[in-house]
Symmetry: C2
Subunit: 348 residues, 2 copies
């Protein structure tokens, strides 16, 4: 079946590029002696998680419990939820999940640790805990290595301290490495072994080996790549596996064409890009604006005519795949399969 038979807009995923992206990252990790624990937030599909594990990944990373439950249901059995799980509803689900899979979670506060300690005792389950460290990203995480050590010391019972985790700011690998280095010295001085040192982020994936002590990396976007990763130097357009197939539905003026993909397909993520996606078949066009179901292509000349179908590389693949209930696996222009984005919308 040719992609021209599909109703637009829809998401195409080039399976050849996916496999190449998975293989390239795994080979890099193997070469440099750290484990890969891919983040499934990007594809949200058990089939791709299995591809990653079969290629050699240690296990998978999820951001939310709901994603992890979908993956566990599909047989994935070594899962890191790189998130503070807070509230009795989440802790109850954490306990249920810990009975089914080898589970690791994150903590950056006494509040979160108290919840983990309590549920491990109350439900008689055990799981690993990584202390999340703010190594410059400015999001979650303890602020100093000393805070990390103090927090690790409060874990007990079934909630086992297993190491450190960070999501560094893009492009700040050196700051992150220095932070981790200080933390390892602090833990060493206290004779507390640090089993895992886990970092993530596709923009700096190919610099992961420059962080001393790193044992694991959690890239997500690398499976699909996108305009923002090309801009970051982590990929080329030829690596980008996910595209939105759209149709030109209007051309009110020679310098303006309207496609049937808007923010409900491409999202409004700009991530520093000039437009809302790249059109390889019409590289002079800028996706200059989006409303919910319309995209505006602008170019001085050469815009496609009404009825033309275009593949668009989005700025941010992770949020685009989360908009769609299904994606089409393709090889070139041939549709191989249609598979559900099983963990789509599992934000809780």
């Amino acid at each position: 079946m040719h992609i021209d038979t599909l109703s637009t807009p829809c998401v195409l995923v080039d399976i050849d590029r996916v496999k190449a992206n998975i293989g390239r990252a795994q080979a890099y990790a193997n070469t440099h002696g750290f484990a890969l624990r891919p983040h499934i937030k990007t594809h949200k599909m058990p089939a791709f998680a299995r591809l990653q594990v079969e290629a050699g990944a240690r296990g998978i990373t999820c951001q939310k419990l709901g994603e992890a439950e979908v993956m566990a249901d599909a047989g994935l059995d070594d899962i890191l939820i790189s998130y503070n799980l807070v509230g009795i509803d989440k802790l109850t689900r954490l306990a249920a999940l810990a009975r089914r899979v080898r589970l690791t979670v994150a903590a950056d506060s006494p509040y979160t640790v108290a919840g983990y300690n309590d549920i491990a005792r109350a439900a008689d389950v055990s799981f690993d805990v990584l202390i999340e460290c703010d190594t410059g990203g400015g999001r979650c995480g303890v602020q100093t290595p000393e805070d990390a050590l103090a927090l690790a010391a409060t874990l007990g019972g079934g909630a086992r301290f297993a190491g450190l985790m960070t999501y560094p700011a893009a492009g700040k690998t050196a700051e992150m490495a220095a932070w981790i280095d200080r933390a390892l010295a602090v833990f060493s001085a206290a004779s507390v072994p640090v089993g895992t040192v886990s970092a993530g982020g596709t923009p700096d994936l190919w610099r992961a080996h420059t962080t001393p002590g790193l044992t694991e990396y959690r890239p997500g976007t690398y499976v699909y790549m996108d305009c923002s990763q090309v801009a970051a130097g982590a990929a080329t357009m030829a690596d980008c596996a996910l595209t939105v197939l759209a149709t030109v539905v209007s051309k009110p003026r020679p310098d303006r064409a309207i496609i049937d993909a808007g923010t409900k397909s491409l999202t409004s993520d700009l991530l520093g890009m000039e437009g809302f996606g790249h059109v390889p078949a019409c590289p002079q066009a800028i996706v200059s604006g989006l409303s919910e179901e319309h995209g505006i292509l602008r170019a001085e000349h050469g815009l496609p005519e009404i009825g033309a179908r275009l593949r668009i590389v989005p700025n941010h693949a992770c949020v685009v795949s989360n908009m769609f209930d299904h994606v089409y696996l393709v090889s070139g222009d041939q549709v191989l399969d249609c598979i559900p984005v099983a963990a789509r919308g599992r934000v809780s």
Copy 2:
């Protein structure tokens, strides 16, 4: 059931505010003698479309065929798809839908009109067509009233010319009204009756009566309202019916708290706002940044502690409800029901 029993993040819809918003807009339309044809892109739920029709709406508006099919399945029987439907797949579905409901579609090009004429003849169906006019919005639409007249003249057979449609630029009601006025003169001079003159957009809803000749208005966001509508002066915070319920999961520093709602819940739509939503219970906090599953709250002091649950009014309600498979209907803090967002993700 209290909202504190819900797993976060999730969407709460205050049914009392929804009913008040629907009633207020319908009363305004009734007073000024035009029909309301609410756009269901905002809620995507048949139950709310029925509320709107029961309150007096002429019918509903959908942006995509997939939305219209969901609404037709639920018994809604007078549907405008305010979109150019292009391609044989879409035209085939258009014909099937035209057999089930009173259907109106939009066209702004000879290409689209040719498709409508062809499918009406080939499938022996009839439906109404509005000529979409670019009255300043800079998206779709014919560029001049003369082009509108010429295009209308090419409709034939089951594809019946029924009037004019525009989606004006927000805040440019006067330009839109002048365009429409010229167009009505051009059609009158040619003795072509214009049955419907349809405009839309919640920001200018309460100025709709200032457009001479307007017969119908298609507001969408008014059912929920949001920060962008408050900024536009179309609503107050007390009218905002949709909120995202989130939990504080981390507080790395006194001036930074992290909530469990990111772009996969609130979306990255800024629409000119300062932050990514408003927190009524903590109005000094700015939702200063989002990643996919984290939101960053900043304030010099008074930020909530870990475990606190917050309702967030999003910048743009229409894209938020499209992120979730279900929403919770609430009255105050009581949960009344959980209903599927039936047309979520129906972008094609």
